[in-house]
């Protein structure tokens, strides 16, 4: 009886986002009231886009009354997951209802994992911007980082219908001069949201790929709140393009991406990811310099 409550889940060696989401999809919504051990024996290298969906998974497991343990982490993996805040976020008695945003020690190249909280968005973004301005990207205009975070957080809050609120982490790679932002939620997904809206409006269902394209069109909005005007995602994409940077948006059975060469793709995926994951890689060589304030008066 006790043994049937105990489940072992082996985290695979993850190379790309597709593998990660395939792994997650296998275990979503499967277990209730179990003792689950996440086995890291094959998992040796952590990237930001691993942590945010993993955090969503652990919270989702806990919301269905599962107890979650971890084993076989290498010292390097444990150290990273501890420093970035993953381990303390999911300690056995951790209160997930309120998590302070936080940054790491001076010189560190990443900002801690953060459970997205509508009341704390301004504080989190402000502390993240200040951290990178003071530590790694001094003198640079960080509008692109601000926009990447604020638009995606607002989208999760307005549209995702996620029971798990979503997670974010940002890491700077000084050798590559890249700033990687990973944000993930386990909501209904962008194509599903679009198709629900289309159905309510009496229109035909779109494929997930077509729905993703529609979601990224300037001015298209499902009006989840009265003031939504459909500017959010297109603003992020314009920002990414202006910096010759990259983005991946994976949701349901669609992926939209801009690659290192600036080519844009909207593709079908093999698995249905219930949620949305956004990974933005900003090329920091292309960040403009910070600007002075102009005292002169001007009309719009």
């Amino acid at each position: 009886m006790i043994q049937s409550k105990m489940i072992q889940i082996e985290i695979p060696h993850i190379i790309n986002v597709g593998q990660l989401l395939q792994f997650l999809t296998s275990y979503r919504g499967v277990y209730k009231n179990k003792i689950i051990t996440l086995d890291f024996i094959n998992y040796h290298f952590v990237k930001p886009f691993h942590i945010t969906p993993l955090a969503c998974l652990v919270e989702e497991l806990k919301l269905t009354n599962n107890v979650v343990y971890y084993e076989n982490m290498t010292p390097a993996v444990r150290s990273y997951l501890t420093t970035v805040g993953f381990m303390s976020l999911f300690e056995q008695d951790a209160d997930l209802s309120f998590i302070q945003p936080g940054v790491l020690f001076e010189g560190a190249t990443y900002v801690k994992l953060w459970k997205i909280d509508a009341e704390q968005i301004d504080a989190y973004i402000s502390s993240t911007i200040n951290f990178f301005r003071n530590n790694n990207l001094t003198g640079k205009n960080l509008d692109a980082l601000n926009i990447s975070l604020s638009e995606d957080f607002n989208n999760i809050i307005d549209h995702s219908e996620s029971l798990v609120s979503g997670y974010a982490v940002t890491q700077y790679y000084p050798n590559k001069e890249e700033l990687m932002i990973s944000i993930c939620d386990f909501g209904i997904g962008i194509p599903t949201k679009i198709n629900n809206f289309e159905a309510e409006s009496g229109r035909q269902r779109l494929s997930d790929k077509e729905a993703m394209r529609l979601a990224l069109t300037l001015g298209f909005s499902t009006k989840s709140t009265p003031r939504n005007k459909g500017f959010g995602l297109s603003t992020v994409i314009d920002c990414v393009k202006s910096l010759n940077s990259g983005i991946k948006i994976i949701s349901n059975e669609a992926i939209y991406m801009i690659d290192n060469q600036g080519d844009e793709y909207t593709l079908c995926t093999e698995q249905n990811f219930l949620g949305t994951m956004i990974v933005i890689t900003l090329n920091t060589k292309n960040l403009p310099l910070d600007e002075d304030f102009v005292e002169m008066e001007t009309y719009l």
Partner: protein, 98 residues
């Protein structure tokens, strides 16, 4: 002659990300417009505007007063060029979609 009232953005709001903060800016400017005043809006220390913030502030001012009235009665001062360009680009997007 219209009176000119100064509003300092970062004294009306604590951030420029959320709809609620955008509403706070809208209410501050709307109060002056409805009394027949012009507004000088200081963007000193203003942080990057999200589209939600602009929707709830500039967007709602456009809905109530129109682009022409907004442009005639709102003066911007103490701005970084990127902030000014964000507002201008937003207004152009709204006009294109109208």
């Amino acid at each position: 002659m219209k009176n000119l009232k100064t509003i300092i953005l970062m004294k009306e709001v604590t951030g420029t990300v959320t709809n609620d903060e955008g509403l706070a800016l809208f209410l501050a400017i709307d109060k002056e417009f409805s009394e027949g005043n012009c507004v000088k809006l200081s963007l000193e220390k203003a942080t990057t505007f999200s589209s939600s913030f602009l929707n709830s502030s500039i967007g709602e001012l456009i809905v109530k007063y129109g682009v022409k009235t907004l442009k005639s009665n709102l003066i911007i001062v103490n701005y970084q060029p990127s902030r000014l360009n964000q507002i201008r680009a937003y207004i152009e997007k709204i006009k294109d979609l109208a």
